[in-house]
């Protein structure tokens, strides 16, 4: 009984754990009516880009989207 319970619990815990991998998304910003791809961004970098936007070499700031809308 104890072995069977442990086995089932472990299988369940594993299925929960497998869902918790880091999240990544393709991001872009719109410039002059065209999408400029920024590539795949993950975790903190993704969060920071969405919050603060993207600033290009000329110092222009753009709102970043990381989803297919």
């Amino acid at each position: 009984m104890k072995k069977q319970v442990l086995l089932l619990t472990a299988a369940f815990a594993l299925s929960f754990a497998s869902c918790n991998k880091e999240e990544c998304h393709e991001c872009h910003y719109d410039k002059n009516g065209a999408e400029v791809e920024l590539g795949e961004k993950c975790g903190d970098e993704l969060e920071s880009l969405e919050a603060s936007g993207y600033t290009d070499a000329d110092g222009n700031k753009y709102d970043v989207h990381c989803h297919d809308h």
């Binding site: 009984m1 069977q4 998304h25 989803h67």
Partner: protein, 748 residues
């Protein structure tokens, strides 16, 4: 304060110190008085399950004067016994008959554990197993098998119950004794209760304000948790399910264990679905969803005191299909040729915590129930950003319900109590959009319900007073403080007459519902419903009066229920389309309709022919007609429908091995009485098929396979919120499920 604490302490101490009565019972077969071994005896007041030994004997504890036992055994009818007096030292004899039907049900939702045959209010009680013969992917889909109940949907992941055409704030949901609050005013805010660990559901149709408070204008959905494991038994279960339509999987696990006085359950579950496929082969964009839940409960009995502590947490991320900012909309915008499940926006993330402490004290003639609960609903709606929410609302609710059920004698009782809650709704500081301001709401209610039982007649009447105060402090989005008090006085009278195989019930009940904060104070974009909504501070209290008649004919092999109703509403709240745009969204304003009428009924038939014991035929018809006046119908009224299910047991042996097949046909009629912003919905029919195989081995298992929407019908349901975008309901869906159990019985 000190005196109160001391009083409570000594009262509890007194109750604990009272000596307990041990009860000895024996279960025998009615025809030959032979003992029935391994029968399940459910001591309802204690919530304890005991199994009989080889001599049919069992022992349990009495916590009150009145005893209720539900007894079931393999190849015997399930019966309920009520014992009003018990002398210590007696052996109670329970005679059960060979058969395979449930003779009665115990209802929890009607104030105390009441036999269905003694209830005045017409309550539909169904077990989740019963509703799930052809397995359903969601709880909402299961509930549609109850006559008069439908589900308003927004894709596959968002659904909420509708009772006789009313839903949202007009339906109150209870999980055990806890009132669930989850911003239910929003049509995209789905039901917060998941099927994890749910054993049965009771549905009260029509105003049920008396015991459940203002707001229960359309009815009550009362979910009961699964029972604890039988005493001295440990059960470990695993349920896995896979569906082809959404490539969706569900995995659940539970551990239940019970001793003599202490009981414990724990459940965990995950669910993940990609976009669903419609009958036309395309996928509904962003209809994906995922969810994880955890649930636990611990129960304890000490003499006259039964206590349960329950907690549930669930988290979900649900895509919102049918989302656009464009003024010109065409269905292809919301459909894709490929299926996806990755995170995208718009999406809704909810985190719910539900906690409840249930106490029951069984005194001499009095049963005191004291429930204290807490709910927390954190709702985030992401419009443009994956990691940053636009709407971020946290709703906390503290709830109590205290009542006394006093038995004057064996034929009359009075329930008297008080119920209240305090809500706090807060927008997170960084949320860029505010649809509801920060607010607090306090409810207080007092109620009483008297029941008198004669030999064939039961009479019941009750009164309730409710008081609600809503406070909205000055804040950035609010130009003036809002401080309003709403009151309501409600009544209910009912009669039940039982004549051999005929049963008649008639009820008159009133209900009131104070306008909710959304109806009063909304002023913003609600991305979930793709609207700009504006509330009205002058809205009045909504009132309702329902007449409900039910006739039941119960023959040995046939049961027929006819249940017509008529409801009249005053100051009915609805959203009116202003036919203009505000901030790129269609503008809707909340309005009061002076009057509204809803009438209709349900007809149900259950045939179980004598010549074919393995065959069950169930059919029910639900009809609803709802209008404001002769030119204006109420919106989101379900299509009239006929739901027929035929079940046949191919194998049913004495060892509980079972193989059953079920076919279901649901016909939905044209909805020609549509609301101002709706279009007609055409008739359609759905065929479902499933089989279930249960094998009782050392590790008992149940295998289920089947298909929903077998003919891959491409259809709209009238109560789908994305119908107007041209998004169809789900197409064909094959499923496979497997339940495994490990049982350790320390009695053996």
């Amino acid at each position: 304060m000190k005196e109160i604490i001391l009083f409570i302490f000594f009262t509890v101490l007194y109750l604990i110190s009272i000596s307990q009565n041990e009860i000895v019972g024996k279960v025998v077969q009615k025809s030959n008085k032979k003992p029935v071994a391994e029968a399940y005896v459910f001591n309802l007041s204690q919530q304890q399950i005991i199994t009989t030994n080889q001599d049919g004997l069992f022992k349990t504890i009495s916590v009150g004067k009145k005893l209720q036992f539900q007894i079931s055994a393999k190849n015997y009818n399930t019966e309920i016994f009520e014992i009003n007096e018990y002398q210590s030292g007696d052996t109670l004899i329970f005679e059960i008959e060979e058969g395979h039907i449930q003779l009665d049900e115990v209802l929890i939702s009607v104030g105390s554990s009441t036999l269905q045959k003694n209830a005045i209010v017409n309550v539909s009680k169904r077990s989740i197993d019963d509703l799930n013969v052809i397995s359903s992917g969601t709880l909402g889909e299961m509930l549609e098998n109850i006559p008069g109940v439908s589900q308003t949907t927004m894709g596959f992941g968002i659904s909420k119950p509708s009772i006789r055409g009313l839903s949202g704030s007009r339906i109150v949901t209870y999980l055990n004794g806890l009132r669930i609050e989850n911003q239910q005013w929003g049509e995209d805010h789905g039901m917060a209760v998941t099927e994890l660990g749910i054993g049965s559901v009771e549905v009260i149709k029509g105003p049920a304000s008396l015991l459940y408070g203002a707001d229960a204008l359309g009815g009550v959905m009362y979910f009961n948790d699964e029972n604890y494991a039988p005493s001295y038994q440990t059960e470990v279960s695993s349920i896995s399910r896979f569906e082809t339509n959404t490539m969706g999987y569900t995995q659940r696990m539970s551990i239940k264990t019970s001793g003599k006085l202490l009981r414990f359950n724990i459940y965990g579950g995950i669910r993940n679905h990609a976009d669903y496929q419609m009958g036309n082969g395309l996928y509904a964009l962003n209809s994906r969803f995922k969810e994880q839940s955890l649930k636990t409960s611990v129960g304890f009995t000490q003499n006259k005191w039964v206590v349960n502590l329950r907690y549930q947490y669930n988290q979900s991320r649900v895509g919102i299909p049918g989302h656009t900012h464009d003024s010109i909309v065409f269905p292809e915008m919301f459909m894709r040729e490929t299926q996806a499940r990755n995170k995208t926006v718009p999406a809704q993330i909810t985190n719910n915590h539900f906690a409840l402490l249930e106490n029951k004290f069984y005194l001499n003639k009095n049963t005191i129930q004291a429930n204290i609960g807490f709910t927390s609903n954190h709702l985030q709606e992401h419009e443009d950003k994956i990691t940053i929410s636009d709407i971020d609302l946290k709703l906390r609710n503290v709830f109590y319900n205290i009542n006394s059920n006093y038995e004057f004698n064996a034929t009359s009782n009075l329930i008297f109590g008080s119920q209240g809650m305090h809500q706090n709704n807060v927008n997170r500081p960084f949320a860029p959009e505010i649809i509801l301001p920060d607010l607090t709401s306090t409810d207080f209610g007092m109620y009483s319900l008297y029941t008198k039982r004669f030999e064939k007649l039961v009479l019941q009447g009750g009164l309730r007073y409710d008081w609600r105060v809503l406070n909205v402090p000055l804040q950035e989005e609010i130009d003036t403080v809002f401080n309003e008090t709403y009151q309501g006085l409600n009544y209910s009278v009912g009669v039940r007459y039982h004549l051999k195989k005929h049963d008649f019930r008639f009820n008159v009940s009133s209900g009131t519902r104070a306008p909710n904060a959304s109806e009063l104070l909304s002023n913003g974009v609600h991305h979930g419903s793709v609207r700009y909504e504006i509330g009205d501070r002058s809205l009045a209290v909504e009132k309702s009066l329902q007449l409900d008649f039910a006739y039941t004919l119960k023959l040995e092999h046939l049961e027929i229920i006819v249940n017509p109703f008529y409801t009249h509403l005053n100051d009915f709240k609805y959203l009116e389309n202003q036919n203009q745009f505000l901030n790129e969204f269609m503008l809707f304003e909340y309005k009061d309709a002076p009057e509204a009428t809803i009438y209709g009924g349900e007809l149900a038939l259950h045939y179980h022919p004598h010549f074919a014991h393995n065959l069950h035929i169930e059919s029910n018809l639900a009809y609803v007609r709802a209008y404001i006046d002769e030119n204006n119908n109420l919106p989101f009224i379900p299509q009239n429908n006929i739901n027929t299910q035929v079940k046949y047991d191919l194998i049913k042996d004495k060892n509980s091995n079972n193989l059953s097949l079920a076919v279901q046909h649901i016909y939905y009629a044209d909805q020609i009485h549509f609301g101002a912003n709706e279009t007609q919905t055409n008739r359609y029919q759905i065929f479902n098929f499933g089989f279930q195989y249960h094998k009782s081995t050392k590790v008992p298992f149940t295998l289920g396979m089947g298909v929903r929407n077998l003919l891959n019908e491409t259809y709209f349901n009238h109560v789908s919120y994305i119908k107007n975008f041209g998004i169809f309901n789900p197409g064909r869906n094959f499923y496979i499920s497997l339940k495994l159990q490990i049982i350790n019985n320390q009695n053996k």
